[in-house]
């Protein structure tokens, strides 16, 4: 058992497990979560209107669809706000809270926490300002590939977001170091173990995109550099872009592994194996980014092959998670009286929005996982690369599993931050099920359209090449957009209702966070972070060494003439 040490005793919660937040927690966690929701507010509502703009029938009957006029500006807002800003703010806020409560100590430095927040928040403001005031030039989407170059503020916004997130990571690492000094022979609680993995992956991965922005894109945008290398930039971007996916996913796994079993009324099946799964994520999350570049001309087939194999390896910990969490849910159902082989999925707390949201997310994740394996196999990838199959896939994983799990977390964390009950449990349940139905239909329709060759990131309603089948599936996507619009409204009704209109006191409750240190059967060497960093270095050399050599064309000798001129995003 960890001894309960809350150094600033005046600020310690009355009982450490209680869901009541002390003032310091409310301010810091609340600031992050609410800023995340502001970013989401901008991002999420673009989604349904994108589906309307993409549908030929919809555009025919409603020639003026409100919300935005320039489609690619909307897609930029949607991607940047949802995928980059909402997620980062939410993850940092949630992980601070879990770390503090799990280790029973405040984060190492509160001022540093606020500095990190200020940096990220300024990044958010600059980014929104740029995209909203120069819609054409900043419509470079959330992948911002050169030679298209956005205004400098776009990149500065991203740099500030990254800087803040690095400070936040450092804060969490230092908190852990302090804890470890006092608990030499204990295992860090599983939730914090996973959080450490998550932020190490993040710090390694962001190096790629930081190099890209600081040395290529920002100077080009400021006019200092007149040339760029798109193949190199893409490679640096995806060095970051794939691990980014795990940065989103692992906090959801924190909830599934360490909170959901308790919320659902069961027990985790195997804690040691959970740790092994997280170590596998740590090692294999980064050296697989090239699987996003199967169709790139500048990378050899053998390098692509190596990363295909590593990608298959990184699916193993997700299969382990499916088993472990599945077993915990079965255990929960047995405790609730499930008897047969097949009744346990139904004997879950489907009427509790916190649990239902996460279970619904898992259902979408199963579909997303299988479509992901198809993406990962290089040949099948040639059929669906850059088609609407790809958004279909990541709206099941990111928009489905991750998002619904974050929503499930929100449904207990937001009331705790506000100190009032959730505004409407019924609205929350309706939100979860409309999201599940909407995303299922979205995945089907966009996936089917992708197989028909309908591209992603395109205003398909205006596309002369759209086939009747493609048009049909775009229309179906718009129907899913209607359902998801309703769901998004319900989500924000509850957010605003809880923050401003809820009159019920918060129900007495416990934080669903494990505060005791980890299971004795987990090997202590799993916490030898130095070794893991070394292994990551070796894997990166193997997986990325040849890629970098190919992209820079070292065989031919270094030749600056190969770098090509930049250009602004083309105007209509």
């Amino acid at each position: 058992m960890a001894s309960i040490t809350y150094p600033q005793s005046a600020e310690a919660p009355a009982t450490p497990g209680t869901l009541k937040l002390v003032q310091r927690e409310r301010a810091m966690i609340g600031a992050h979560i609410i800023t995340a929701l502001i970013a989401l507010l901008f991002g999420i509502f673009m989604g349904p209107f994108q589906t309307f703009h993409r549908s030929p029938t919809f555009v025919q009957y409603f020639p003026t669809i409100p919300v935005f006029t320039f489609y690619y500006q909307a897609v930029t807002v949607h991607g940047v706000m949802n995928a980059l800003f909402f997620t980062t703010f939410f993850i940092v806020g949630f992980c601070y809270f879990v770390t503090e409560r799990s280790l029973q100590r405040p984060i190492k430095s509160v001022p540093m926490g606020w500095a990190a927040f200020a940096s990220m928040a300024l990044g958010l403001v600059l980014m929104l300002f740029t995209i909203l005031t120069s819609p054409q030039q900043s419509a470079v989407l959330y992948t911002f590939y050169p030679p298209m170059i956005a205004p400098a503020l776009f990149y500065i916004g991203l740099v500030l977001l990254a800087l803040g997130s690095w400070l936040a990571s450092a804060n969490i690492f230092l908190t852990y170091r302090d804890w470890k000094r006092e608990h030499r022979n204990e295992r860090v609680p599983l939730a914090v173990f996973a959080i450490l993995v998550n932020f190490i992956v993040w710090c390694v991965a962001t190096v790629g995109v930081a190099l890209e922005i600081v040395f290529m894109l920002l100077p080009a945008s400021l006019g200092i550099l007149k040339v760029t290398d798109p193949q190199l930039a893409r490679t640096l971007f995806w060095f970051f872009g794939h691990p980014l996916v795990y940065f989103w996913l692992l906090p959801a796994y924190v909830s599934w592994y360490t909170m959901l079993p308790r919320q659902a009324g069961g027990k985790l099946f195997s804690e040691p194996l959970a740790r092994v799964a997280f170590v596998m994520f740590l090692l294999f999350a980064v050296p697989v980014g090239v699987h996003h570049q199967f169709s790139d001309p500048g990378i050899s087939a053998s390098s692509k092959g190596v990363q295909t194999l590593l990608t298959l390896v990184v699916s193993i910990p997700s299969f382990m998670t499916a088993f472990n969490v599945g077993a915990a849910l079965e255990n929960a159902a047995r405790n609730r009286g499930a008897k047969t082989l097949f009744d346990w999925p139904f004997k879950q707390k489907w009427n509790d929005p916190v649990v239902a949201a996460q279970l619904a997310g898992m259902l979408l994740f199963v579909a997303g996982g299988f479509s992901g394996l198809i993406n990962a196999s290089a040949q099948l990838n040639a059929t669906i690369h850059n088609t609407s199959w790809v958004p279909a896939h990541f709206h099941q994983t990111l928009g489905g599993a991750v998002m619904l799990t974050y929503i499930g977390i929100l449904y207990w964390l937001l009331p705790a931050i506000r100190g009032r009950a959730l505004f409407s449990k019924r609205a929350a349940l309706a939100q979860v099920f409309t999201w599940l139905i909407g995303m299922t239909l979205f995945g089907l329709a966009m996936g089917e359209a992708g197989l028909q060759g309908v591209p992603r990131r395109a205003l398909t309603s205006q596309a002369p090449y759209l086939t009747p089948a493609g048009a049909f599936w775009m229309d179906v996507t718009a129907i899913s957009g209607v359902i998801l619009l309703i769901s998004s409204i319900l989500l924000f009704v509850n957010v605003i209702g809880t923050l401003f209109f809820s009159r019920q006191p918060m129900p007495e409750g416990e934080v669903p966070i494990e505060t005791v240190s980890g299971d004795r059967s987990s090997p202590l060497w799993l916490e030898r972070w130095g070794i893991w960093l070394g292994v990551i270095g070796v894997l990166l050399l193997i997986a990325y060494g040849p890629v970098v050599a190919e992209v820079l064309d070292f065989q031919e000798g270094w030749n600056i003439m190969r770098f090509i001129p930049t250009s602004n995003a083309p105007m209509p």
Binding site: M148, Q379, T383, Y465, F563, P565
Partner: protein, 161 residues
């Protein structure tokens, strides 16, 4: 560390599935000869006139074998004056066509409907791929990589006769 029996079975099943994936990949490459794009050549997109891209178009190189040289730019595929704009390429059925494509400005994409031909066009890089056209019909070439405000009207057509 102890691993539960059931979980061990599960992990074995996962291993077998992934092994099957690996095997399928190897079969696809060795037996069916499926190939991914690989580096061909680097060029200066501003000096395309000094490369094969100076004269885009379709050339017959042998019986039923063609070479198509195409330059992508915002927002059209330039396959020579004969092909026009939007480009229309015609091949007799049973042709095997090798495409050489590059971009002159920003990133573009090159995907042929109902064929597994899908290339990223990265400025400064030559993309090469081969497709067989055995079924008569009309197939679109779609730019599937976002390239700015006119992205959705960037396409071409292949007619197999």
């Amino acid at each position: 560390m102890e691993i539960n029996k059931l979980e061990r079975y599960w992990l074995m099943a996962v291993g077998i599935t992934l092994g099957a994936f690996v095997a399928a990949t190897i079969v696809a490459v060795t037996v069916f000869g499926i190939r991914l794009p690989a580096p061909v050549e680097r060029i200066d997109p501003q000096r395309l006139d000094q490369t094969i891209f100076a004269n885009p178009g379709v050339r017959k190189i042998a019986d039923n074998r063609y070479e198509a040289v195409i330059v992508a730019r915002s927002w059209a595929f330039d396959a020579g004056p004969e092909a026009g704009n939007p480009a229309v390429l015609r091949f007799p059925r049973g042709s095997q066509v090798t495409f050489y494509v590059t971009s002159k400005d920003v990133m573009h994409g090159f995907q042929i409907e109902k064929h597994t031909l899908n290339l990223e066009l990265v400025p400064g890089q030559v993309a090469r791929a081969t497709a067989n056209f055995n079924r008569p019909g009309t197939y679109h070439i779609v730019c599937n990589h976002y390239c700015g405000a006119g992205h959705q009207v960037m396409y071409g057509t292949i007619v197999v006769e």
